[in-house]
Every structure is written in C-alpha cells, then in structure tokens.
C-alpha cells in the first residue's frame, strides 16, 4: 500500500490550523495561475491521497490514476470551491467519489462490516470478567527492531481489515482527520464512523497483541 514506517520518534504533525492556512495560501496562488503552487499542493496531499485511493481500488496503478484524475477535477472545479469546508476535506471528498466511481470494486458492501466482538468471548468468564486478561505491553519505542516489527504488523493488519474499517482508520489514525471530517469525506454518519473505528482499532490491537507475544 505504499506505506513505510517512520521509525525515529514518530511522525511530526504540524498544527491543523497552520496546515489549513498553508493550503489556503497555495489555493489562492493557484487561482492566480501559479504552476508551482499546484505542484506544492500536490506534494502536500499526494501521500495521503494515494493511501486512501489504495483502500478503494485493487492496484496502486489504478489508485495513481484516481489521484491524477482527482487533481484534474480539482483544477476544473476550483472556481466552485467556496471554502465552506477545508481544502483538504473538499479534496478528499472528490477523491473518494472518484475512487468509488471507478467501479473497480462496485460490489463492495456498504455494511458496517463484521460484528465480531472486540475481544474473543472465550477470554471472559460467564460473568463477563477477564479470564485471560491482556498482558502488559513493554513498548520500547527506542528499540528500532521492535518499532519496525510493530509498524510492519500494523501495516499487514490494516491490509486485512474490511474496506470500510480500513478507510476510517486511514483517515482518522494515519492521516489525523477529525471524526467529523471523516464523516464528511466518506459521507457516513457519526455513529457509523465510530462503529467502524471501533472495529478497526480493536482488530489492530489484537494484531499487535499477537506480535507482542512473539517479541516477549
């Protein structure tokens, strides 16, 4: 899925407000016909867009086409962008709509996904108390090998998630959008967003738990 783990010290996230301002400035420059501003805008959002597109279509090359098509749509529709939502939300909405309409996965289910419990029922006793409780995680993020193993495991587990869960996790936990923005981009309800987020995160925790057991 074109992801690489950033190992040293986690990712640096600029403040959201600052990022919005930069987008706004670039959009203004783009409107004034500045080609460089376009390339800068693309650079800022390309990675996230490709990642999201990948969760809708079957191959990276199709995802790349979707991303390019989206930018063409952005250029053509720029006059219609009123700035009511942030540029990023507007952009990702176009992307998601294009990705969906490529039809590569026309038969994708719009159901919320699996209804498996967050934790296997067998780990609780009849009263619902932990019988096989979670073991303490010694998460040594300074240890590069451990960090690599964990991010690798998450990547694999993300690939195995049902699509809808993966989309929400990508936008929320990888790209750092707010719950509200995710709802806008994917056109789903707040409740649906939370259910998908819950299932997705629970799956990822399980995957990490398995990896931790190996590392221990």
């Amino acid at each position: 899925m074109g992801l690489i783990p950033a190992l040293a010290g986690g990712r640096l996230r600029r403040s959201k407000a600052a990022a919005c301002d930069e987008d706004g400035e670039l959009v203004a420059r783009l409107r004034a016909g500045d080609e460089q501003a376009f390339v800068l805008l693309v650079s800022r959002h390309h990675a996230a867009m490709l990642r999201i597109a990948c969760s809708f279509v079957s191959s990276t090359s199709v995802a790349e086409e979707v991303v390019q098509d989206t930018w063409l749509g952005v250029l053509r529709g720029l006059d219609g962008f009123a700035g009511r939502s942030s540029f990023k939300t507007w952009l990702l909405r176009i992307l998601v709509n294009r990705a969906r309409s490529t039809g590569v996965r026309e038969h994708r289910s719009i159901a919320v996904g699996d209804v498996a419990p967050a934790v296997d029922r067998g780990r609780f006793d009849a009263s619902g108390a932990w019988m096989s409780p979670p073991q303490h995680w010694v998460e040594d993020s300074d240890d590069r090998l451990v960090a690599e193993a964990l991010t690798g495991r998450i990547q694999t587990a993300l690939g195995e998630l049902p699509e809808r869960q993966r989309e929400v996790i990508m936008l929320r936990d990888v790209d750092g959008l707010s719950g509200h923005e995710v709802c806008e981009v994917l056109e789903i309800s707040e409740v649906n967003q939370r259910v998908l987020l819950h299932r997705g995160r629970s799956h990822l925790r399980q995957a990490l738990e398995a990896e931790m057991a190996v590392l221990r």
Binding site: L3, G10, A47, A48, W130, L158, R201, S202, L208
Partner: protein, 86 residues
Amino acid sequence: MKLAGRKELVCQQMVELITDYLEGVLPRAQRRRFEAHLSGCEHCTEYLEQMRATIRLTGRLQAEDLSPAMREEFTSIYRRWRSEES
C-alpha cells in the same frame, strides 16, 4: 450492546465501550460507570492503554513522498489543463 440500568459494567462490556469513551461520546452516567470500573480493574486499565498504544503506533505509518517523476507528471497535468482552459 444493551446495558442494564444501574448495574456495574463488566470487562466484556468495557472493551466494547472503549472507543465511545475515547471519543468522548459516552453519556455522563455511563462515563461515570466506565471510569468507576477502570479505577478498580487493572486488566481493563491495561486494555485501555493498549488501545491508546495501538492508535499511537498506527499514527506512525507514513507514506512515501512525491517522487521527481510524479512531480513532472503533475506539472504536465497542470499544463494540459491550462492549455485546455485557454
């Protein structure tokens, strides 16, 4: 998940409520019961920590930057658009 009236939460319910708790959308009474359970249950406290660690670790995934080839590709997309506009 159906939660009976004023009864205390059990661990199995806790793990299903955890996202709503982290999202800050549990109704106040439920939030209190959630926190009351947490304060007396080391396993659920560990579970909560693991969910937080999972979110943190997921946030570390990053995608590759735009390659020079892609940069050129997008420059040409822009130029094509400009020419079709004019």
